[in-house]
Amino acid sequence: MPHIPTDSDVYEVFAQSGHGTALNHVGSIVSPRPDAAWHLAKETYGRRDDLVKLWVVRRTDMIVSSADDRGLLAAKTRMPYRQPGFPTARRRDRSASPPAVAAPREGRDSGLTERRDDAREPGLTDLWLALADDLFVLGNRLGEHIVDYIDLEEALAVGSIGQEALAHAGTILVLCGFDQPAADARFFDRAQAQWQVSRVVERLTDWPSLVAGGLVIAAAVAVLAEQTAEAAQTAGAEQTAGAEPGAAWLPAITAIRDEQLVHLDHWRRWARALAAWPETRTEFARAYAEVTERAGDMFGARPQSPAQGVPAGAAPAGPALAVTLHERLAALVGENGGPGSRLPDGPGTRTWGVGGSALADSLSRGRTVRDEYAPGVFS
C-alpha cells in the first residue's frame, strides 16, 4: 500500500542542473532541520555543477508507493495493440504459429455437423445464408487491402465496403433467426467443409479478382435483396412464421440493397479503370473472365438443416426462381462497360467445402485474432 514514511530526519533532494534538463531526484540526505537540509543538499549535490533548481522535501511529507504496488500502478486502459512493440510481437507470434489450415481445432464444430437437408427445395433463407458466406470472405479479403492504396479516399472506400460486407453478412444471419453467439459460431467455429461459398470465392486471391468478385457479389446481393423485398411486400403486414422474409425484413433488406448498389457502382468504376489502363488490361481481363465464369452458382445454394438455426419449411425457391435471379444478375453485371462477362447462360448449384485458400485464410485469421487477443477485447 502507498504509505507515509516515518524516518523524519531524512530529506529527498531534487535538482536541475541545466535549462534543457528536467528536475531529477538526485539522492537523500540526513539533517536535523529543514533549513540545514537545503544547505547540506547544496553542498552535497551542487558542489561541482551549477544548479538551476534545488528542491528539498522531508520524506515524511511524501506519499510513496511500495514494491507491492505494481498492480495499482498498472495502466487501466493499456491496450495491447496500442503498444509500440505490438506489430513486432504479432509478426513473431504469427511466424511461430502453424500456417493457415482449413481444418478447425478440436471441438470447433460441435453442434454444427448436421448440415444437409436435401429433401426440400432451397428457400430464400438458404440463398441468403450462402451469400452471407461469400460476403464474409469478401469482407475479410478487402480488409487486407486497405493499406495498399496511395489514395486516402480509395482506402476509405475499400475499408467501408469491407466493413459493410461483414456487417451485411451478420445482419443476414440475424434476419434468419441467429442470435449473436450462434452467428459467431457459424462464422468462426465451422469447418471449411461446412461452408457453402460460391466458386467465385476461391479466385479472390489478388486485387483484380477482388474488383471482379466484389462487383459480382454486390450485384448478386442487390438482386436477391430486390427479390426478397418484393416477396416481403407480398407477404404484407401479417407476420410470417419463423425467420422467413416478412415485413420485418424490409428496412434492413432495403438498406442492404441500397448500400450494395453503391458498392456495385464503385466496383464498376474500378473495372472500367483497370480495363482501360494498358498496364492492367490483360491481367484484369483474365481475372474478370475467371471470376464471372465461376459466378453461375450465386443463387445455387443447397438447403441447410434446422440444426444451424434455420427453420425448416422455407418457401421453396425452386429452379424457376434461380433462373429469374440469374437473369437479373446477368443484366446487372452486363451493365458495367468493362470487359465481357463469361457468366454461364443458366444457373448452377453450389457445393460444400470449396473456397480454397481464400476461405481458409479468412477462417484462420479470424480464429487467430479471436483466440489470441486479451480476454475482454471481444466482449
Partner: protein, 179 residues
C-alpha cells in the same frame, strides 16, 4: 370510477411519466463521433418499460456502424445511473434510420461539427456558401457523401443513407466518381 380503476390509471400515468423520463435520459446520451444527442440524431426510436425491464429501440445510421457497441455501453450506463435496479434491453433496428429523423437541434449540432444532413439546406456548414460540389460517392462510410465548398475551400460530409441520392444537394449524383 372505483378506487381500483383510479389506482390503475394513476399507475399508468406514473409509468408513462417515468418512461418519458427514461427516454430523456437516453436522448441525453451523445454520439461517440459527433457531439449530438441520440434523439436529435434520430438514433433513438423508442423507450418502453414492462415488468421492471427497460427496452430501448435504437437504429444505427448505417448497418455497419462501428459505434453501436459504444452507444449501447453509454445508454446502459446512463440508464443504470438514472434508474438503478431495472433490467436493460437494447434492440437495434437495422436499416430504420432516415435523415428526416434528425431534429432541428440535431441539424444545428451536426452543422457545428461540419456536417449537413441530406434533404436540408445545401449550403456549406462553415461559410454558408451554396456553391458546393459533390466530391465522390463515399466519405469515410457509405452514409457520408463528401462535398467541396468553392466559397471557402472547406470539405464537408453530407450525412444520409446509401439510398438517399435524390436528397443530396446536387440532384444528379456523380456516376463513377469525380475524377
Amino acid at each position: 370510477m372505483n378506487a381500483d380503476q383510479l389506482g390503475d390509471e394513476v399507475t399508468d400515468q406514473l409509468n408513462g411519466r417515468f418512461t418519458d423520463r427514461l427516454a430523456d435520459v437516453v436522448a441525453g446520451v451523445s454520439d461517440p463521433e459527433i457531439d449530438v444527442g441520440l434523439r436529435d440524431l434520430g438514433v433513438l426510436r423508442s423507450v418502453s418499460l414492462t415488468d421492471g425491464r427497460i427496452r430501448v429501440h435504437l437504429t444505427p445510421t448505417r448497418i455497419s456502424c462501428p459505434a453501436v457497441g459504444e452507444i449501447a455501453r453509454r445508454v446502459r450506463s446512463a440508464l443504470a445511473e438514472a434508474a438503478p435496479g431495472y433490467g436493460i434491453e437494447i434492440v437495434w433496428e437495422r436499416g430504420a434510420w432516415q435523415p428526416a429523423a434528425v431534429t432541428v437541434a440535431g441539424r444545428d449540432a451536426l452543422s457545428r461539427g461540419g456536417y449537413r444532413v441530406a434533404g436540408t439546406a445545401s449550403s456549406c456548414p462553415y461559410c454558408g456558401s451554396e456553391d458546393v460540389e459533390q466530391a465522390g460517392r463515399f466519405g469515410g462510410a457509405v452514409c457520408k457523401v463528401p462535398y467541396d465548398c468553392r466559397g471557402c475551400g472547406s470539405t464537408f460530409d453530407v450525412i444520409g443513407t446509401a439510398g438517399c441520392t435524390a436528397m443530396l444537394p446536387t440532384p444528379e449524383p456523380v456516376r463513377g466518381g469525380s475524377r
